[in-house]
Amino acid sequence: MNHLMGAPELPGVAAGLALDVDSIRGDFPVLQQQVHGHPLVYLDSGASAQKPEAVIQAMADYYCKDHANVHRGVHTLSQRATDRYEGVRGKVRDFIHAGSTNEIVYVRGTTEAINLVASSYGQAFVGPKDEVLVTEMEHHSNIVPWQLLCERTNATLKVVPIDDRGELILDRYREILNERTRIVAITQVSNALGTINPVHDMITMAHDVGAVVLVDGAQAVPHMSVDVTDLDCDFYAFSGHKLYGPTGIGVLYGRESLLNAMPPWQGGGEMITKVRFEGSEYNELPYKFEAGTPDIAGVVGLGAAIDYVAGLGLDLINEHEQQLLAHATARAAEQSGMRVIGTASDKAAILSFELEGIHPHDIGTVLDHEGIAVRTGHHCAMPVMEHFGVPATVRASLGLYNTRAEIDRLFEAIDKAQELFGQ
């Protein structure tokens, strides 16, 4: 625990156990502004969530009072910095229900976590004729590292297809899995479609053929409670900045036995116990995978973000977001010329769509003009765009601070776009 921060408060939870969103919005300085003369409506949390005051202050407080390098010195500041840095590791362990802090490796983000596993585990345990399995809905960061691995090792990349609702075709998954499958890399929640995948069952099936499973949790951790022990996944990756924390910090969870068996990834200080020109000895977990001075302030901010989110409660956050998604989905069904991309039965709060006769980029400009921030483009998921035959979509991705009134403003602005383009 971070004794310097004091106990996390519980603002934003109103009586009756629902989120008090009005109060929550007051925690986010960035939301208190106008864009093009309209109150900002931020619907791009899937790309990066905004930061509560608690996160910003925790990082400022760390730099004002406690900064020094970690694990290095005998002096007081170094000890304080180390305590804060390691204290957060315990928070992360508890947050995702891992067994040990040895299994929590700090990285720059989800992308780096996946690259670490693809390089280190992949290089050691994947060879020619082996197969690596991804899905058609993966973010580029859960495709390209595996392509690079397959190029280096002459392994084969296999792809589980999706159907027209944006759900994985599990029968095909079952067929593609075989005893040559070494790694299955799947997202828990699709960033482009919102689909929540049945990763628990998929992990069991992968283990049945002896494959290890990496779960990309970047879009999952902000929306739902994650339990890596219950999932029984081998690796789990997520980013701080989508969880209302700072950019540049993320987490790789790895099963301790696997992390121990893996060679180091990057070499440098911190990851060694002894360096001689004849050969070096590597540090114990998790430091073996943390070469160099880490993003200490980022870790402190991540810890504050976890306190904030856990303080509100992921069950309440999920309930609030699901209500917003239901409202948005109902409005979308009534909007003429709108096609929702991604209609899975189990979805996180992401509404991806296109409008007949108007390119997503033009919609994005009109919405921005109305103070509404959405993502337009391929969302780093070009295979998904190809599947649905679109070059791009508009994506409204919701967070814990969004309101029903903001969804209504989105649809009013969509009306304006359709009027402007004569649709």
Binding site: I358, H359, P360, H361, D362, T365, V366, H369, T376, G377, H378, M385, P391, A392, K416, L420, F421, G422
Partner: protein, 151 residues
């Protein structure tokens, strides 16, 4: 909405709805592919340049936003019958217009209908949409084999 109309002028909306010189060109002497990875816009540009370096024919096809489609359409109208040297002058002038660097403008050049795209200078994220066709033109005239990207 008023200043959105500065960006989406009626001429742009018209060229977006009914792009001119749209479709493949048989017997093209130059062609190139342009791609804007940010928004997924892509276009193929075809030119027929005769022995006197005059652009006799120019056509394009592709998918894009209103700004990139209208820009490509208006570009083809502008280039018809121009020399390659003139086309290069228009390229320079158009980039200066789109980025708001008016000092880069060629005072002797009448930009004509291209002026309707000057609204993009207020929208930095959209400048690449407007210039995609023009960068593709440059690639075609240089004879580039790989698609050009605006990123």
């Amino acid at each position: 909405m008023s200043d959105l109309r500065e960006l989406y002028q009626e001429v742009i909306m018209d060229h977006n709805r009914s792009p001119r010189n749209c479709g493949p060109l048989e017997g093209a002497s130059h062609k190139a592919e342009g791609f804007n990875p940010l928004c997924g816009d892509q276009l193929q540009l075809y030119l027929y340049v005769n022995d006197d370096s005059i652009i006799e024919k120019v056509r394009f096809e592709g998918k894009g936003c209103a700004i990139s489609t209208a820009s490509a359409s208006i570009m083809t109208e502008t280039l018809h019958g121009r020399s390659v040297d003139e086309a290069n002058r228009y390229f320079q002038a158009f980039c200066a217009l789109a980025t708001g660097e008016r000092e880069g403008l060629d005072q002797d050049l009448d930009l004509g209908k291209l002026e309707v795209l000057n609204g993009v200078r207020e929208y930095p994220a959209r400048v690449k949409c407007a210039t995609l066709a023009w960068h593709t033109l440059q690639a075609a005239l240089r004879g580039d084999k790989t698609p050009i990207k605006t990123e």
